[in-house]
């Protein structure tokens, strides 16, 4: 709820962890691996400070890691490739190179979609089985409650 007095919109690591649904330890670990930029310049030993864009980025990392089921190393490669494409695109380049960039981005999206769809299909199958068990159990409960024959 409270931030630093002189830095209006900035959050400390505990607040960020709360908002994203993770822990300070995890945030420091991701920074150590190079998944998060090092939270601005920081005199060593000083508190880390984050803004809203840092919160968004972290939330997306946590989400992708959980839903795609990839390692942190794979996740880092994934977001770095995406970042490199965006940077090169914004920098301005030839139409031929832009076509390549779009192609690589489409490949990346296709790989992620394959992972997500496979998991969703398996989850739906398990969900159907659980629903079937639920119906059978409710049937048994009705039998036990009143065999009103």
């Amino acid at each position: 709820v409270s931030a630093t007095t002189e830095n209006p919109g900035l959050l400390r690591i505990g607040e960020v962890a709360l908002r994203v649904g993770t822990t300070p330890r995890t945030i420091r670990y991701y920074e150590e691996l190079g998944l998060l930029s090092a939270a601005g310049e920081r005199s060593s030993g000083a508190h880390r400070l984050y803004d809203e864009s840092d919160v968004d980025r972290l939330r997306e990392l946590v989400r992708l890691k959980g839903l795609l089921g990839v390692s942190l190393e794979e996740l880092k490669a994934l977001v770095e490739a995406e970042g490199a494409r965006r940077a090169e695109w914004a920098e301005g380049t030839s139409v031929a190179r832009r076509r390549e960039i779009v192609g690589e981005a489409l490949d990346g999206v296709a790989r992620q979609l394959a992972l997500v769809r496979a998991r969703r299909i398996e989850l739906e199958s398990l969900e159907q089985e659980l629903c079937a068990r639920q119906r059978r159990l409710r049937g048994r409960r009705r039998e036990l409650d009143g065999p009103a024959d």
Copy 2:
């Protein structure tokens, strides 16, 4: 492909791992934790032998662990509770007790369904976002390929 000569339908740990899509190390670890019965009696140092029902049980454990996202300790509690209910049911008991057993089973199924549905909904949301990105990228690709104005 080959089993032991004198024990017709039995499989060794490597074959089981292949069929289930896991590793011998994981199977031994699950046995150590008590998730798998100790693969029959075994003179110490002898090879572990499994039948089809062991394969099915292991496959289900691996599947539930991956899809529910629970720890092995939680998974053990889950399947042990289920086993205890089935055992007590088969043993034969009062109608009142049977009602309780069905109620507990329904609670367990409801908890698993909640986990599965939450994950499925999050996956569907990510899938929609990825599809939207895919459409935008395909749009850009068409623009780059031929601005046939």
